[in-house]
Amino acid sequence: MVWSDITTENIDPGDVLARVGRPGDGAVAFFAGVVRNENQGRPVSGMEYEGYDEMAGKELAAIVGEAAERAGGGRVAAVHRLGRLAVGEVSVAIAVSAPHRAEAFDAARYVIEEIKKRLPVWKREHYLDRDAEWLEGHLPAAEAK
């Protein structure tokens, strides 16, 4: 079982956790990314996430499918939020259940690392003391010259 979504709604970690788990699974791993109140010493007032919506949905689905396979057929759920988020709000949440803990941790970690590498999403940090800025990101591996 895999589930993924790109949303502009508030993310509830409990809802994401509730999507995984089955009688043969002994381990549940979860990760959430949260908007911080500072970045490299600059006070932050919020974060604006822009996405290439349709491709982001397809790419996130591919990532959770790969993660489920790595977790030996474990259950994987992931959701990424777009739009303007306040400090403390959840931007991404990932839940994995698997028979054993190593698989669950590895799959959850895989999903967040792949999101950072390949999900077509960008973020613009809003500061208390200066203008907003697009943050430096990772160039996806498939690269035109």
């Binding site: 990314g33 996430y49 822009e50 996405g51 290439y52 349709e54 491709m55 982001a56 397809k58 990424h80 931007s91 991404v92 967040i112 999101i115 950072k116 590498k117 390949r118 999900l119 077509p120 999403v121 960008w122 973020k123 613009r124 697009w134 943050l135 430096e136 990101g137 990772h138 160039l139 996806p140 591996a141 498939a142 690269e143 035109a144 010259k145």
Partner: protein, 82 residues
């Protein structure tokens, strides 16, 4: 042939705020050919980053990917999700 070019985030601002634009290209143009064409427009387009990932029809593609009429070509700035 015509392809639709999508721009996001910092790229969009470089190109004067346009989110997408239709570009007419010779048949069998490649992704690299499209990028050269865009940069040749000058202005903000000239400063489109040399390093850019490209997605054709919502899948990552290479510079030598051949384009077809109606393709949706997205220039993908370095991604920063999560």
């Amino acid at each position: 042939m015509d392809v639709t070019v999508l721009l996001f985030a910092a790229h969009r601002e470089l190109a004067g705020g346009k989110a997408n634009t239709v570009v007419t290209l010779p048949e069998r143009s490649t992704v690299d050919g499209l990028l050269a064409e865009l940069r040749a427009r000058g202005g903000g387009w000239a400063s489109l980053p040399r390093r850019a990932a490209v997605a054709v029809n919502r899948s990552y593609a290479n510079g030598d990917t051949v384009l077809s009429e109606g393709d949706e070509v997205a220039l993908i700035p370095p991604v920063a999700g999560g």
